[in-house]
Symmetry: C2
Subunit: 461 residues, 2 copies
């Protein structure tokens, strides 16, 4: 009988991050300085990040070595298992083979430590003692709290107010690792005050929380900033997921027709998909890579490709990306990790070049899928992960119709043990969908046009 | 470099449960009927349990085969990893080697599915469609909800009110698996009403919740009952933990001087310790097996060995055990899984025969230990598990003093992601210890003497 789970030994762990910039046919356009609107130099990023991460941000080397100390800490939970969703397959009656890479075995229950560990490490190596960051659902904040605690770095987390209130346990988890957590928008920064003046009852957004965290780092020489998605070096670190999955599928004697992952800023998706895209780009493979976003925040499927700010206040560089506008505050949904107005540079370019595809799924459909997954495979998924699962189920049912024995791989990026208030609402029938209408999207994009006139715009769109 | 984690493949999973009754030098005395006080026959248990579990309860076969369907479902999370606590060792500066068996990787985050799965399976095989149970912290209730959902059995869980209120997420997790959860004591049973009449603001106890769940099963022919610890067959199922650990330590080239586990009713401890006791009893090994209980509920270290009821109302058989009295309601502490007045028959006999030892640890010391563990090893432990960790740390520091390179194994029975309100209180300095005084213990035991006169008593104590 075939194994349900495939484990790699620690000696089979990837020793390098895979950098897709080396293989992209069209390189992304450069980030621009938020004030001068000129292409950014490394010195512009130096107040925010340690030099090693800035180098990784712009590197076009295909493989970047993982420091030994980082590999050592990864071993607390890596390699993560690849699991065949045999019970889900049976329940669906599909000929499709469904595999999931389970990142929920990490200490904080999600894939985020994969980048939190190297980010904290490189900061430590360059003598940094204080870091600020933002967090949406809290997965990123918990992961960085864990990593900073390990390397003896003090951490201040600006947590989107909606999640701060809905997910109090994630806040406490950060506290157990010694981090300080502040609900965003807050009165502790000018950015926060500016938002609160306009919208006193703001539930916050990732864009706002980023502005606050960046501001603190910009204003304090001894403080650096750390981001949990979007940036090239963050996506880079996550590629250990896909690299492991390739080895594990080899052991299973399988290869995927499609790879599916939730999409917030891009690192979840990049982590599992980029190593397969490498095979597409260099070995003629044809793996379909699908990024799945919520219909309440559909930047990939309905946003515009253009230069925009990564944060709400406009403190961070302008980057070429699919966006709904940096002023756009997504509706309150339970997949807090996906409530971000834009997409990372690399992923945006890949989508523009049709090397990957994107879909949007309704919140209620996601919870329905998550519950079916739990009741068959046992694991309660994080609401973010449910976006992938809903799409996997859709594809598995398609395969049932056509009779094709497709092989589907998805990223089960985290467990939902911190998200039970959301499931409670779903079970009680109190969960409301907030699909954006075309009119709302047009309004958001028009507002963006009117507030942001980047000279390079015309040539981009 | 040696591996931090040792994984077994699914083909190396144990195929049999280990039954320590076969090897015990003194067999436990028989359970007595709660009314007639005569030794119990299988027919007395038939209203509560399926016949196959009753057979296991009294079997003296050394090995009992694990059904294939049960093994199949175990594969969702088993074998669980054995992990070397290298970072904790470093932080303590101890020459001791510390290993932990991590059962928190199960779908519900604890070791409880190990017995929930076979219990639900045997019920299913005998046509049972409805089960009742009790739960303390909620770990057992969640595990049985998962297992019953898989086998299509309806489940009703009586949850100790204290936990129902402190751990709302565990209740929701049971709901996601389709279980019905009732705060105990409730108005739905005569047992519950009886308690509420005496103590309207009762926070409940495992003993009370057992009475309620048993009553429902006794009064309804189509309903069976399921228990998450204490009973022989429950301890039996957990022995897969220790069996796996032996194989994993062999791969690591190690063998433990001591095995440490938290103690509530006995299954956690039995699960990891019994396979090592087998080596003590049959191969002359000398592994020290230490059960750790809270100072707020010290039945092993300060209770009396005698016949007592397993539940508060006196509906279940009288069993020979270490007890603080079936009327004893332990103080409100956060390790809800350890708030039980008595100990299982087998474990009690082993303790009486000095084949194992017991210790009691204060709640605050446990949280301190748990936090150190999290900050070194990354995993936030369940408050129950912290009892083992506190003892491990104590032993590791002793080894540091004496310079002995002891090898210590403990059962990290679950993660603490549902227990963050307890950690929040600990971090805020609001956690109060409730050590039982000798006077309180004497009073509890005197009350027991006055309410329960089992003829066999005198010869036992």
């Amino acid at each position: 009988m075939k194994s349900k789970k495939i484990h790699l030994s620690e000696s089979e762990m990837p020793t390098h991050y895979y950098n897709i910039l080396a293989d992209m046919p069209n390189k992304p356009m450069p980030p621009l300085h938020p004030v001068t609107q000129q292409p950014l130099g490394p010195e512009d990023l130096a107040p925010l990040f340690p030099m090693e991460l800035i180098k990784q941000e712009v590197s076009t080397e295909r493989y970047i070595e993982i420091p030994e100390e980082v590999q050592e800490l990864y071993k607390i939970y890596r390699p993560t298992p690849l699991i065949r969703a045999t019970n889900l397959e049976k329940a669906l009656g599909t000929p499709a083979k469904i595999y999931y890479k389970y990142e929920g075995v990490s200490p904080t229950g999600s894939h985020k430590p994969n980048t939190a560990i190297p980010q904290a490490y490189y900061n430590k190596m360059e003598g940094v003692t204080h870091i600020t960051t933002e967090t949406g659902a809290g997965q990123w904040g918990c992961a960085l709290s864990f990593a900073c605690q390990h390397f003896g770095i003090a951490l201040e987390v600006y947590m989107v107010k909606l999640s701060y209130e809905h997910k109090p346990y994630r806040k406490v988890l950060m506290n157990t690792f010694g981090a300080k957590v502040i609900a965003s928008p807050s009165n502790q920064t000018d950015s926060g005050k500016q938002i609160l003046a306009k919208t006193p009852d703001s539930t916050g957004s990732l864009g706002i929380a980023i502005s606050e965290a960046v501001e603190v780092a910009m204003k304090n020489d001894h403080v650096k900033y750390s981001l949990g998605s979007v940036l090239n070096h963050v996506l880079l670190h996550q590629t250990i997921i896909g690299q492991e999955a390739i080895k594990q599928l080899e052991i299973a004697g399988d290869f995927p027709d499609m790879v599916i992952a939730p999409f917030g800023g891009g690192s979840n998706f990049a982590g599992i998909a980029f190593p397969f895209l490498h095979l597409n780009l260099t070995q003629g493979k044809k793996v379909e890579c699908i990024a799945v976003e919520p219909t309440s925040c559909p930047k990939l499927t309905k946003g515009q490709f253009r230069y925009d700010f990564g944060d709400t206040v406009g403190m961070v560089p302008l980057i070429p990306m699919y966006t709904l506008g940096h002023n756009f505050v997504p509706p309150s949904i339970h997949a807090g990790g996906l409530r971000y107005h834009g997409a990372g540079v690399i992923v945006s370019q890949l989508l523009k070049d049709k090397l990957i595809s994107a879909r949007a799924v309704q919140q209620s459909k996601c919870f329905e899928a998550g519950l079916l997954f739990e009741r068959t495979e046992g694991i309660l998924p994080a609401p973010e992960a449910n976006h992938a699962i809903a799409t996997v189920i859709e594809e598995a049912l398609k395969a049932k119709e056509t009779g094709e024995a497709k092989t589907i791989l998805f990223n089960l990026c985290g467990h939902g043990h911190f998200d039970l208030s959301a499931y409670e609402q779903y079970l009680a029938g109190n969960l409301v969908d907030h699909d954006l209408t075309d009119a709302e999207i047009n309004q958001a994009l028009e507002e963006l046009d009117s507030t942001l006139t980047v000279s390079a715009n015309a040539s981009l769109v």
